[in-house]
């Protein structure tokens, strides 16, 4: 895979340095049979700081809620036939469904089968998500 020249795919840019792997995991990219490049600590031409970048060499559907939850400052570039066709900004989702699980062992989600694992945004300013059921705060 030529990481510079994607023909059809997605580039997740301006990831806060260090969060690339978390996004990779939560998007389930390890389970997909597509070429993925993670670039860590790239120099950002926005401000000269560091950033991570994920390049996915396939036009797959990704869960934008994951990006909004982990790192709402990212930009998503959709590339078709070598051309940038869409540049998307990501917002924090109000609800995050079946992306992560509650770590509270006393939470009903630890035992109840076929239940949606839901987290709701309770504090936008501080990016706080809480389990819908037990209200335990979750870390990004």
């Amino acid at each position: 895979m030529n990481i510079d020249a994607i023909q059809n795919g997605i580039v997740i840019d301006h990831i806060t340095a260090g969060r690339g792997m978390r996004i990779y995991e939560l998007l389930g990219l390890d389970a997909l049979d597509v070429s993925v490049a993670i670039i860590k600590n790239a120099v950002s031409h926005r401000d000269g700081g560091k950033k991570d970048i994920i390049k996915i060499d396939s036009d797959i559907a990704i869960n934008f809620d994951v990006l909004g939850f982990v790192d709402p400052g990212v930009t998503v570039n959709i590339i078709r036939n070598g051309q940038l066709v869409e540049k998307r900004r990501i917002d924090m989702p109000e609800r995050l469904v079946n992306v992560i699980r509650c770590k509270n062992p006393r939470c009903i989600t630890s035992v109840e089968r076929s239940i949606d694992h839901v987290f709701k945004l309770t504090d936008r300013k501080n990016m706080v998500y809480r389990c819908l059921y037990c209200e335990t705060k979750v870390a990004q």
Partner: protein
């Protein structure tokens, strides 16, 4: 429309007012309500035993002229067969008109409420919420103090794990001009998220102390809770502290004449029995008030479900 109550904050202050008004009308004119729920069934679905809470719900439904389906061993009868809370709630929805559910896991009542086709009242979901206890506390404060504002409220004992305390703070934080005095050992202080997210966020004055004696004279309400042995890392700390949070007639001498002493019960030894005859002891009135508020809530939810 079907509506459930999981958390005390599911009820607006207007709804709390209307529930209190209903409860006070029930107290004044019980005969008017003796058949209010005739033909209706309350299912008490208890996945862990809590005799006093279950009795309160059942007495409430009987006094409204309704019937009760009591499942006291829900944990053994359904969970052991691998049935989910959601399926149990769906099944019970076919038999009853309203559910009061107790479960050891946090959030279990919400799962039941989402699955049930009838209203669900959370009768305690682990350490999370127990809204009808708080409703009992609120009616007690209203009847004893006449208002929800201008009060200095002492909370004493286990403020770290005590869900009744957190819930009462949440409920009382919605009314103006109250002050909280947090009385606990260092080990059992109110969690910082409650202080930060509720008290500081709303600019509510509070002070923290380890001394019940020092706090007593300024209080209008004293809410006692049990200091449990298992909360301490070592036995010495427990033995050193356990007696400092016992209220007895001697300590009560320093308190205001119209103090309202509350406790969610059961008590072990944190309120000496020599306090019981004092007119300031309100914890058994609290039990009775709990039944009236449960009656008011059952009435409200059944009425809304029928609309």
């Amino acid at each position: 429309m079907k509506r459930s109550v999981i958390d005390i904050l599911d009820l607006s202050t207007e709804e709390i007012e209307s529930l209190i008004a209903t409860a006070q009308d029930i107290i004044a004119r019980p005969a008017e309500y003796a058949h209010a729920c005739a033909g209706k069934k309350l299912a008490t679905l208890f996945f862990e035993p809590s005799t006093r809470t279950r009795l309160s719900f059942e007495a409430a439904m009987y006094e409204l002229g309704g019937n009760v389906l009591s499942v006291t061993d829900a944990a053994t009868s359904s969970a052991s067969k691998g049935e989910s809370v959601a399926d149990t709630a769906r099944t019970v929805s076919c038999y009853a008109d309203i559910i009061a559910m107790r479960h050891p896991k946090e959030g279990a009542a919400l799962v039941a409420a989402n699955a049930a086709s009838i209203p669900v009242i959370n009768a305690g979901d682990g350490g999370h919420c127990h809204p009808t206890q708080t409703m009992a506390d609120l009616l007690t404060i209203r009847r004893e103090k006449g208002a929800f504002s201008g009060l200095t409220i002492g909370l004493c004992g286990d403020l770290k794990f005590g869900r009744t305390v957190h819930s009462l703070i949440n409920a009382m934080a919605r009314y103006p001009d109250n002050k909280f005095v947090l009385i606990s050992p260092e080990e059992l202080k109110l969690p910082s998220y409650v202080k930060k997210d509720v008290l500081q966020e709303k600019g509510i004055p509070y002070e923290q102390t380890t001394s019940l004696e020092a706090a007593l004279p300024q209080l209008d309400v004293l809410y006692m809770t049990r200091v449990q042995r298992e909360r301490f890392f070592n036995e010495e700390d427990y033995l050193r502290l356990k007696d400092s949070y016992i209220l007895d007639a001697a300590k009560l001498k320093a308190a205001k004449g119209d103090l309202c002493v509350m406790h969610p019960l059961p008590r072990v030894n944190e309120i000496a029995t020599d306090v019981d005859a004092d007119p300031r002891a309100c914890y058994f009135k609290q039990v009775l008030n709990g039944k009236y508020m449960r009656m008011a809530l059952i009435l409200k939810l059944l009425k809304e479900a029928a609309q």
